[in-house]
């Protein structure tokens, strides 16, 4: 195994609010290797976006408290000053956000916004930066980049705006690209285009990607490694094959069983995970998934650690059931009975 490019060790992020301390991210660790795609899956409030934004230094604020380390090339990014963080942001770590409608400035031309990003990090003339911007638009697949560069965001469709966002994120050749739900607001046909684009550009720019989504289908296409997050914690971690073909955590089964799948016959009833995700001000004692878990038993009152329980290195989970119990029980959840013809 090569040295990871980015190493996150026991990261925790909490925010002081009027109602109490929200522990948004609680003890998250992972490594990201060069050229790999790490997928983070979870529902709203699982802490996946806060994790990503913290890596970018975007969650800093008077009410935020951090713990653990984010090591990039040996530097702990959590301890870097705000000013120094700006040199990392953009040039070392690039980010694409979910909503291409609101993350571009509507009163500046697309080209100006790309040029601004380039010139913030490199000493380069305006004309040269503009040529780079056109080249970037070409690389992200915008037709007629020479004229499109002078368009305003409202003249672009949703998919094109997301492409422009990707151009900005890649403008300074970052070694890590963080994509936070980049395709959620897009139609499936455009989503397929953007997912393809991100994986080609990853190779072209030799970047690593952290891809955050709630869509297991997208993750199955793009990720190498996967983290499943729930209530601020990683509940399962492993390679793509581990997670899809040998999932150990009942929450992962629940997610897999909840999607109406096109690759299988129609099911009579979808599996549901009962209840709602817990509040992160007062998370449940013990296993955080316990209140919603149909397999919970007494031992779950004690919190399981994230550790390897199966015979696959790097496949970690937080569940007290034995591996045999899990393998025997999970299919009922993952593949609910199909409709009789």
């Amino acid at each position: 195994m090569s040295e990871p490019l980015l190493e996150v060790k026991d990261l925790s992020v909490s925010f002081a609010t009027e109602d109490g301390t929200v522990r948004a991210v609680d003890g998250v660790s992972f490594g990201l290797e060069r050229g790999k795609v790490l997928g983070i899956v979870g529902e709203s409030g699982s802490g996946k976006s806060v994790t990503a934004m913290t890596l970018m230094g975007l969650t800093r604020g008077v009410n935020a408290r951090f713990g653990g380390e984010v090591l990039y090339n040996g530097t702990n990014l959590l301890e870097v000053s705000d000013r120094a963080m700006q040199t990392y942001r953009g040039s070392e770590l690039g980010m694409i956000f979910q909503d291409p409608m609101t993350s571009l400035n509507p009163v500046y031309r697309i080209g100006e916004q790309i040029v601004e990003a380039i010139r913030a990090h490199e000493k380069i003339g305006k004309a040269a930066a503009r040529r780079r911007a056109i080249e970037l638009l070409h690389q992200v697949g915008i037709p007629n980049p020479e004229s499109r560069v002078d368009n305003f965001p409202h003249e672009f469709s949703g998919g094109m705006r997301q492409r422009a966002m990707i151009a900005i994120a890649l403008s300074c050749n970052p070694s890590i690209l963080i994509a936070d739900e980049p395709t959620t607001a897009l139609d499936v046909t455009i989503q397929a285009q953007i997912v393809d684009l991100i994986s080609t550009l990853k190779d072209e720019f030799q970047s690593s990607v952290i891809f955050i989504t709630h869509d297991l289908g997208v993750i199955a296409e793009i990720a190498d490694e996967i983290l499943v997050m729930y209530a601020g914690r990683v509940v399962e971690q492993g390679t793509k094959r581990d997670i899809f073909y040998d999932p150990q955590m009942p929450y992962t089964w629940g997610l897999l069983g909840s999607i109406p799948r096109l690759d299988r016959p129609r099911v009579k009833r979808l599996h549901t995970i009962k209840g709602m995700p817990p509040s992160l001000i007062n998370p449940p004692e013990g296993c955080r998934f316990r209140p919603r878990c149909p397999h919970a038993f007494e031992k779950c009152a004690e919190e399981p650690v994230l550790e390897s329980r199966v015979d696959a290195p790097g496949h970690l989970d937080r569940c007290w059931l034995t591996v045999d119990e899990k393998r025997a029980r999970r299919d009922a959840t993952i593949s609910p009975t199909t409709e009789a013809a």
């Binding site: 709630h214 289908g217 296409e221 799948r261 690759d263 599996h271 549901t272 709602m276």
Partner: protein, 343 residues
């Protein structure tokens, strides 16, 4: 199938004018829904799918006259409703209700849940205050909330719970038809599956008919009996749900299906993906001929000039294409019966 469809739409068009200049003259039109016909029977679920901007939401709203159709006929239980005035329309509104996409925008933040759900009954003059309250409490239970929620405000609820409130409001008048416009697309997967199951339970309990508008093909297949695929204001394919997925005829449907990501890495790698180039063209100046031809990999000369009619291929499967896929020669020979002014 039984006699009269619950709702029938014949050659409906909805154009939105674009006005400009001091005189606000009409300079162009958005062809949001362009000559669409179909029928939905009682107890059935019709799914409407397509990319954003294909007119599926506009169609959903036009059916129940939240928009005035530009042309065409709408029949509800065999009765023409496209020209009914406000007053004559009102009693019919009880029979057709709507569930909206955004659970944050579709509930008035200043009203309590009780008021939100009971307002439709008050407006239609049903029951007195006490009986309405009792009904609201029952409705809240039916949709999986608790009667104690009566006095709460929408902001106290999560997205999934709000969507349940919207559903309770839609059910308050015991409608026959519910137009659900992307009712689950704003929800997390685990909550989405709860909602889909609830919609199915309610359909059985109240004998509801759904027109289910969504862009997620997995969700649509799960809930629908029949599915209409829309592209730029037209229905390009209409078929029973399983038939559509196993044997798409229109290349657009094929491409849409192949773009849906599949949560199975091996399968995802093996299958052939058709990535459509470019975006949906503007509905202001839709392409000539078949509207899909600029993005279609099978397009030929005829597709640029002649618009293909929606014709039947048997098994209640209709499609509009010059180069139909998955159709044997035997079926092709029978094609020609013109399609849905059906039933």
């Amino acid at each position: 199938m039984s006699d009269t469809p619950l709702i029938e739409v014949r050659r409906v068009k909805k154009y939105f004018p674009i006005r400009a200049g001091i005189l606000q003259r009409e300079v162009a039109r958005v062809h949001a829904v362009d000559d669409v016909s179909f029928a939905v029977h009682e107890g059935e679920t019709l799914g409407l799918v397509g990319e954003s901007g294909c007119g599926k939401s506009t169609l959903g709203r036009t059916i129940i006259r939240l928009y005035e159709p530009t042309a065409g006929e709408i029949l509800f239980q065999g009765e023409h409703i496209e020209k009914l005035g406000r007053r004559r329309m009102r009693p019919l509104r009880r029979e057709m209700q709507m569930v909206f996409q955004d659970p944050y925008a579709s509930l008035n933040p200043r009203k309590r849940v009780g008021t939100i759900v009971s307002d439709p009954m008050r407006i239609h003059g049903l029951g007195d205050r006490a009986s309405r309250k009792k009904q609201v409490e029952e409705l809240l239970e039916t949709v999986g909330l608790s009667p104690e929620h009566y006095n709460r405000f929408p902001h106290e609820f999560s997205g999934g719970q709000r969507q349940r409130i919207g559903l309770a409001r839609a059910l308050a008048l015991r409608p026959k038809l519910i137009i659900a416009d992307e009712p689950v697309s704003a929800l997390d997967v685990s909550i989405q599956s709860q909602m889909l199951n609830l919609l199915e339970d309610l359909q059985d309990e109240f004998q509801l008919t759904y027109v289910f508008v969504a862009h997620d093909l997995g969700v649509v297949r799960h809930v629908s009996d029949r599915i209409a695929v829309m592209y730029l204001g037209k229905i390009v394919e209409l078929a029973p749900a399983d038939e559509l997925y196993s044997r798409p005829i229109m290349p657009y449907t094929e491409a849409l299906l192949s773009a849906v990501p599949i949560p199975d890495p091996d399968l995802a790698e093996r299958r052939e993906r058709i990535v459509l180039e470019g975006d949906v063209p503007s509905p202001i100046n839709p392409p000539t001929g078949c509207r899909f031809h600029p993005r279609c990999r099978y397009a030929t000369e005829i597709c640029k000039t002649t618009e293909p009619p929606l014709v039947g291929y048997g098994n209640s499967h209709f499609a509009a294409c010059h180069h139909p896929l998955n159709v044997g020669a035997a079926t092709l020979a029978t094609v020609g019966e013109p399609a849905p002014q059906q039933n």
